[in-house]
Amino acid sequence: MVEVKVKDKDIVVPGEILADGMGYVPGVGTYREGEAIVSERVGVVSIDGRAIKLIPLSGRYLPKRGDTILCQVVDVTMNGWRLETNSAYQAMLSLKEATSEFIARGADLRKFYDLGDYLVCKVSNVTSQMLVDVMMKGPGLRKLNGGRVISVNCNKVPRIIGKHGSMVSLIKEASGCQIIVGQNGLVWMQGNPEGELLAVRTIRMIETESHITGLTNRIKDFLEKTTGKTLEIRMEQ
C-alpha cells in the first residue's frame, strides 16, 4: 500500500513518516526505514514525481565547491591567507589564486589583504576532511571596502536572491545600496545609512517569512510603502 502522509510544502520535523510503501523514493533530507520514508531534519516537503525531498529551513553553512562566499581574513601565512567562512571550517586562499596583481617574492601579504578584511571568493575545492580552498580570480571576486556585513540563515540565501536575482535587485533599487549575498549567509551592503538600514530590515523580513507563499509581492509592497517609489520585479541577466 503506497501512501503519502504529507502534502507538498508541509513543514516536517525529524522522525516524521512522510510516506509508506515502496512507490516513492527518499530524496535529500529523508531516509528509508523499513518500507517507510522518514524525514531526518526540519524542512519543507517537496514532492517531485516519485521522489520526496526536504528543503532545509535551518542549519549552518557547509562549504561546497563552486559557491561564491563572503569571508573574513583571520590569519596570514607563508603562502596565502586563512579565511573565516561562517561555517565549521576555515578556508585557505593561496597566493597563486589570490589576485591578478604581481606579488613580489617576500612581499608582505598584509599589504594585499589585511587581517579583518572581507573578501568575495569562490570555493574551488573541498576535500572529504573539509579542507577548503578558495580563489579570487573571476568576475565579481574582490576585496570589500566599507559598507556593513550581516549574517543571515544560509538556507534563506536563494530566497534573498530570488529567481534570477529578482529579489535582490528589488532591494538594491529600493534602498540604493550595493548588495552582495554570499552563499555562506553573509551579506554585504553599502549605500547611505538609511538605505543600508532598509536593506537590513528587508532581508530580516525575508528570513522570517520566506516559507510562506507570496513572498515577492509582500516584499515589493513593503518596499513601496516605506520608500514611496514604484518598483518593478525584474530578472537580472
Partner: protein, 239 residues
Amino acid sequence: MTYERRIDGRKFDEIRPMEAKVGVIKRADGSAMFRFGNTIAYAAVYGPRNLYPKFLQDPAQGILRCYYNMMPFSSSGERVRPGGSRRSKEISMVTEKALKTVLNLKEYPNSVVDVFIELPQTEAGSRCAGICAASMALADAGLIMKDMVSAISVGRVDDKVVVDLDYSEESYDGIVADIPIAYLPTLGKITLLQMDGIVPKKMLIDALQQGIKACQKISEVQKKALKQKYVLEGVEDVQ
C-alpha cells in the same frame, strides 16, 4: 502500605503539564525550552563549529558535547553550588549518549556540536526535561537526525506504577524506584535507561510500557512546538 492517591492529585499515568517552545535563544544556532510542571529546561545548540584543542578532533565524524547545569537558585530551598559536580557530569554524559545515537555527524569531521542545558527551576525529572529540550534544539539547529528524542521518568511508589514522578514522590517515605527513560518515538528504541531503587520485574515492564506511551505524548508536544516556530501571525498565506 499502599499509595492510594498521588500527592498532587494526578492520575497514575498522567504527566505534569507540559510546555515547549523553540527558538528561545536568538543568538544560538538552535534553542528550545521544555517544561514538566515546575521543572524547566532551556537548551541551546551551537555548531557544527570548529573544535580546539586539536587533539579533541575526530577526523571520522563530528563530536557532540553536552553540558547539564542546574542554576544556583533552581532547587527548592537549598542553594545549588554553581559549577560542575559529580552528578552534573554524569547527567551530561548520559544525555550525550541518549542524543548521539540519532545524530549523523559524518558530514562534519573535526568539528563539534555543543549542547548547553540550563535549568532555572527544578522539581524532579530534570534530566528528562533536559533531553526533551536538547532534542528540539538540535532539530532547530538543522542537524541531521533520525528521530526526535523524548524522555520521561517512570517508576514505582509503594505498590503503584507511576509516570513522571515529582519531588514529593521521589522523596516519599516508602519503597520508591525512579526510572528515567529516553525513547525514539518513530524508531521505537530506548536510548536512556537508568534506575534508582528497587522494582520487581513485572512492575518494571509495566512501568516501561507506560513510559513509552508517555514519550509518545511528549513527542507530539515537541513536534507541535517545532512547527509553531514557522507559523507567523499576521502574514497572509496566498495560495
